[in-house]
Symmetry: C2
Subunit: 424 residues, 2 copies
C-alpha cells in the first residue's frame, strides 16, 4: 500500500518531493496529540505545530462546519468575523502592531511583510540569518539557505550567521549578542554601499530552524539598535513561536523582548485551516496600503476567520499557554535527565524542545540523530531534526501535549538512546 | 451598522482597502446563487465565481466537515485524497500537463508557474498583457497594471496590448491575431536584446480582466508559434475560465485551442476553501522540482483536497458545465435583446458575460456603467465591471445560475437601462 502510494505520488507530483522518514507514514486519522496510520498503528505526535490545539479539535471543526454552511465570501463585502479576529489578536500585541492583512499562508504573510518594509523605508535591502526558512514565494525564498533560489540569490539580501548555543557567534556566549549585532551592522553597511539601503531584518524570535538556541531576553537589543539606527524595520516571523507555544509569552518577540514593526503568523493559526496574517503598526500599514492595492481572495474569509477564532477560544479555554509552560518545564527536566555520551545540550522554549548531539570529536552527530529519529518513529513517537547540521532532535508537539505524553517521549527516547548504535 | 463596520474595518485593516459598491454590502448568508445581507435583503449573485457550485453547497460543506473531523495534515506524509485530486484533474488535461503542485491560492500557483518557466528555460523574461491581474505576490504583482509594484516594474517583464473586440490590436478584427503576435515577437526581441531571454508568456485564456473579448478559436496560434520558436513556455492561468465555466470546454485553453506547458488554477477549485494548483508537463515539473525544494504546508492537505474533490463531484452530478453552455446561450440571447443607445457589444463565454457601453462619441461609458451597477445592486442583482476602462458590465455567476435567474438579471437590467440617466 505504502509503496504503491509512493509510486503514485511520483507519477502525479513529480520527482524530488520528500516525505518524512525512511518508511513514509500513511496517516489516516488524528485526534489530540495522536495520529494513526493505515495499518492502525498509533503515534504520539511530538512534531506537528500546525494542529496547534490538537488534531481535529471538535471546537475548531465545529466552527469551520458551522460557518461553511452559512456563508463563505471575501473581504470586499463587510463581515464581522475577520474584524473580530484582527481585534482579538491585536489585543495580544504590546508594541502597536494592531492592523492586519489576512492571508492564507505564512509565505504570503512574509511576502507582504518584506514589501511593507520596502514601502515604509523606500529601501530594498533585507537581512536574515544564514540557516533559516521563511516561506516559498519567489521573494521570500530568497531568504532560504537550504537550496539556492532559481536564478541565484538576490544581491539585496544579506544573511548573517545565526546565533548558536554551542558554537556561539563571536566565540563566546557572553559576547554573542554583540558579535551578532556587529555582523548585522556589517551587512547594513554593505547594503548601503551597494545602493540598496536597509529596509528590514526578518527573524524568527525562536531562531527555530536555526537550531532553537538558548538566548537570554535582551539578546536582540544591540541588533535592534543597529537596525533602528539605519532606519530599518524589525519583522518578527511568529509562524513557529506564536500562539503561546513558548509558554512564558503569547508571542516570541515578547519572550525575547523586542518591539517589532511587523509581525507575521501562519501555521498554527487555524489548526490546519489555511489562514495566516501580517500585523503592522498603523504607520507601516498605511505606507503599504497606499503603495499597493493588495487583495487576497480567500484571505479573511468568514470560514478561515471562524477557524482562527476557534483556535483562540481553545487556547484560552484549555489554558494551553500555561500548559506549555508547565509541561515544557517538566519535559525539559525529563530530557535533561537522559544520559548519553553524545548529548551536547538540551534546550527548550515551552512546547518546543531541542536535544543536540555531538560526537566524541565534537562534530555534529547528524547520522546518529537520523537513526534515533527512525527508531523513535518505529516505536510510535513522531519527531524530527533542526539546525544547520540537522544534529538536533526537534520536538514541537500540539499544545495539549502533557506530562503523561512527556513521559512517553522521554521513556521511549531513553530506550532508543540506549539501543541505537553510535555513528557519525 | 454598516457605517460602524466600515469604521472598524479602517481601524483594523488600515486605509485604502476598497469594498464593492457605494453602499458596501454586509452579507450574512449565502445559498446557491443567492446572498442575504444583515437587513434580510436578498441578492441574486451574478458576480462571484469563487462559490463555483453555489454558495455553501451541502456536498462541499459535508466533505470539508467530514475530513476536518478525521485528519488534516500535510504532504510530507502519504495520503490518498491529494493524489486522487491530481489524478482526476490531470484526466481533464489534453496536452500532457498531468503533474501538479497543490497550493492554497492562485497567486501562489502563478508564483510557482513563473519560476517553473525560469527553471525550464534558464531565462527570466516574462510576457503578459497590459491590463491583466494574475495575483498578489511580489513576483506575480509585477504583471499587474492597475497599480505599479513597490519599487517599480521589473525590467524582465514585458506587457503587450491585450486583445479587444471593439478596438482590435492592429486596427482590424481579422488582423488582430497577427498584430497581437507581432507585439509579442517584438517583446521577445526586446527581452533577448536586454539579456533576459524569454522564459514564458502567461495569459488568462478568456482575457477576462482585459474585458472578455470575443476571440475565435485559434486566435492565439500565431502567438504560440512565436513563443515556441523563442524557446519559451505557454502558461494558462485558468483561475477564471476553468472548471467548465466557458460551457463548451472544461478549460479555457481548450476553448481557445492551444496547448499550455503549465496550467494554474485557483478561486473556484474549492468553492471558497483555499485551494489552488499548478499543473505542468512532467518535463517542466522535473526541472522545477530539481531546482527548488518547494513545500507548501497547507497545500494538498486532506481537507482542501476533499473540498476540491467535492466540487468536481457537483460539477459532474449537476451537469454544471452543460448548464453553463445552455444557460450561457440563453442569457446571451436575453442580453442581446436589450436596447440602449450606448450598448456597444454583448459578449459571452458560458457563464461569463460582458456588456460593453460606449457613449455617443464612442468613448468608454465608465460613469454610466458605474451607475448601472449601483442601480442593479439596489434592485438585488450583484455584478461588477471589467476592462481597461471599466465600461463593460461583468457578470460571472455561480455555475448553478439558470434560465430563471437569467430572466431576473435581463429583466432587471432592462428596467435599469431605461431609468438610469446617461452620463459619460
Amino acid at each position: 500500500m505504502t509503496e504503491s502510494l509512493l509510486e503514485r505520488r511520483a507519477r502525479l507530483m513529480g520527482p524530488n518531493v520528500p516525505t518524512f522518514y525512511r518508511q513514509p507514514l500513511h496517516l489516516v486519522r488524528g485526534e489530540g496529540v495522536w495520529l494513526w496510520d493505515a495499518a492502525g498503528k498509533r503515534y504520539l505526535d511530538c512534531y506537528n505545530n500546525v494542529p496547534h490545539v490538537g488534531h481535529c479539535h471538535p471546537h475548531v471543526v465545529q466552527a469551520i462546519c458551522a460557518q461553511a454552511g452559512v456563508l463563505n465570501t471575501h473581504t470586499r463585502y463587510l463581515h464581522e468575523t475577520a474584524l473580530d479576529l484582527i481585534d482579538r489578536l491585536g489585543a495580544t500585541m504590546h508594541h502597536g502592531t494592531t492592523q492586519a492583512i489576512l492571508t492564507c499562508t505564512g509565505s504570503e504573510a512574509n511576502d507582504i511583510a518584506l514589501r511593507m518594509a520596502q514601502a515604509a523605508t523606500g529601501k530594498t535591502g533585507i537581512i536574515a540569518t544564514d540557516n533559516t526558512y521563511h516561506g516559498n514565494t519567489a521573494l521570500v525564498s530568497q531568504l532560504s539557505t537550504r537550496k539556492p533560489p532559481i536564478g541565484g540569490y538576490a544581491k539585496n539580501v544579506k544573511l548573517v550567521p545565526a546565533p548558536d548555543s554551542l558554537r556561539p557567534v563571536g566565540g563566546s556566549i557572553e559576547g554573542q549578542a554583540a558579535a551578532f549585532a556587529a555582523n548585522v551592522a556589517r551587512a547594513v553597511a554593505e547594503l548601503e554601499a551597494d545602493g540598496f539601503g536597509l529596509s528590514c531584518m526578518l527573524i524568527c524570535p525562536l531562531f527555530a530552524n536555526e537550531g532553537l538556541p538558548d538566548l537570554a531576553p535582551g539578546f536582540l537589543d544591540p541588533t535592534v539598535q543597529v537596525i533602528r539606527k539605519a532606519g530599518g524595520l524589525m519583522i518578527a516571523d511568529e509562524v513557529q513561536p506564536g500562539f503561546g507555544r513558548s509558554g512564558s509569552h503569547f508571542w516570541g518577540h515578547d519572550r525575547l523582548g523586542f518591539a517589532p514593526d511587523v509581525v507575521t503568523m501562519g501555521k498554527p493559526m487555524g489548526n490546519g485551516h489555511p489562514v495566516a496574517a501580517v500585523f503592522a503598526t498603523p504607520a507601516v500599514m498605511a505606507t503599504f496600503r497606499e503603495a499597493f492595492g493588495y487583495f487576497n481572495t480567500f484571505g479573511g474569509n468568514p470560514v478561515s476567520a471562524a477557524a482562527a477564532m476557534a483556535v483562540l477560544d481553545v487556547i484560552e479555554n484549555e489554558g494551553l499557554q500555561d500548559n506549555a509552560r508547565t509541561t515544557g518545564a517538566y519535559m525539559l527536566e525529563r530530557l535533561r535527565a537522559l544520559r548519553h555520551p553524545w548529548i551536547a545540550q538540551v534546550r527548550g522554549a515551552g512546547q518546543f524542545y531541542g536535544v543536540e548531539f555531538l560526537t566524541d570529536d565534537g562534530a555534529p552527530a547528524t547520522a546518529f540523530v537520523a537513526d534515533v529519529i527512525e527508531a523513535m518513529v518505529a516505536r510510535g513517537v513522531i519527531l524530527n531534526n533542526i539546525g544547520k547540521h540537522r544534529n538536533t532532535l526537534k520536538m514541537r508537539p500540539p499544545m495539549p501535549f502533557n506530562r503523561e505524553h512527556a513521559d512517553i517521549v522521554a521513556d521511549t527516547l531513553a530506550v532508543v538512546l540506549a539501543t541505537t548504535p553510535v555513528r557519525a
